[in-house]
C-alpha cells in the first residue's frame, strides 16, 4: 500500500539552529514528493517539490528537502530556524494509482523557540 509517514508529531528547535522535519514514503514507481506548510487556521501553502533531477530541492522561505531513494525519505530542512517558521508541515506523495490523489502525511508541528 502507498503511504507517507511523518514519524514526529512535533519538533522543537531553538531559533537560529538548523531544523529537520522527517518524511518517509512508500509508493510504487517513481515518487513525486511535496512539502506544504499550514499556519494556524489557514489553508496549506506549497513549499517545494521533487519530481526528478537533483536530490536537493530548494523551496520557499529558505527551506530545502533532500530526496534519498535508498532510504525512501524526503526530509525537510532549513539551516537557521526563525520563530515565524512555527507551523504545521505536511509531506505528500503523488499516488501512482490516481492522477488526482496525493497521499498525505499526518503532519508535523514545528515549534521554534526564541
Amino acid at each position: 500500500a502507498q503511504s507517507v509517514a511523518q514519524p514526529e508529531d512535533q519538533v522543537n528547535v531553538a531559533e537560529g539552529n538548523p531544523l529537520t522535519v522527517k518524511c518517509t514514503y512508500s509508493v510504487s514507481g517513481n515518487p513525486y514528493l511535496f512539502w506544504y506548510v499550514q499556519y494556524p487556521n489557514r489553508g496549506l501553502q506549497f513549499l517545494l517539490k521533487y519530481i526528478t533531477g537533483d536530490n536537493l530541492v530548494k523551496g520557499s522561505y529558505g527551506f530545502e528537502a533532500e530526496f534519498n531513494k535508498s532510504q525512501t525519505s524526503f526530509h525537510l530542512k532549513k539551516p537557521s530556524a526563525l520563530v515565524s517558521d512555527s507551523a504545521l508541515y505536511f509531506c505528500a506523495v503523488r499516488s501512482s494509482g490516481s492522477n488526482y490523489q496525493l497521499i498525505w502525511g499526518a503532519g508535523t508541528k514545528l515549534i521554534i523557540k526564541p
Binding site: 506544504y36 489553508g43 496549506l44 517539490k49 496525493l102 499526518a106
Partner: protein
C-alpha cells in the same frame, strides 16, 4: 493572478441541518478542484475532486456531496449534518486541466471550520 475564495470561515450548525460551503477560483480557467477535510488540525482526507463542470468524483463514501455548477465554482453540501461531519474543510485547485501532472501543485483556500452540535 489567481485567487481562491472559500466561505464561510467558520460555521456552527445543529445536527440534521443542511450544509453548503462554497469555493470559487479567479484568474484561471478549467482548474481541477478539490474538497479536503482535515481532522483535528492534522492529516488531509480528499473528499471530492472535479476536472470539469458537472464532473465530480468521490473518494470517500459519506454524508456529503459536491457539485460544480460553473467552471470555477465548487460547492460542498449535505442534506443532514452529522456530528462526525465536524472538521476543517479545505478547497483547493490545481491549474492543469485533465490531470494532476507530475509537476503541478495545489493551491488551497483559507478553509472553513465546521462545528456540528
Amino acid at each position: 493572478s489567481q485567487t481562491i475564495h472559500q466561505w464561510p470561515a467558520t460555521l456552527v450548525q445543529p445536527v440534521g441541518s443542511p450544509l453548503s460551503l462554497e469555493c470559487t477560483v479567479e484568474g484561471t480557467s478549467n482548474p481541477n478542484l478539490y474538497w479536503y477535510r482535515q481532522a483535528a488540525g492534522r492529516g488531509l482526507q480528499l473528499l471530492f475532486y472535479s476536472v470539469g463542470i458537472g464532473q465530480i468524483s468521490s473518494e470517500v463514501p459519506q454524508n456529503l456531496s459536491a457539485s460544480r455548477p460553473q467552471d470555477r465554482q465548487f460547492i460542498l453540501s449535505s442534506k443532514k449534518l452529522l456530528l462526525s461531519d465536524s472538521g476543517f474543510y479545505l478547497c483547493a485547485w490545481s491549474p492543469l486541466h485533465g490531470s494532476l501532472a507530475t509537476n503541478e501543485k495545489l493551491f488551497f483556500g483559507s478553509g472553513t471550520q465546521l462545528s456540528v452540535l
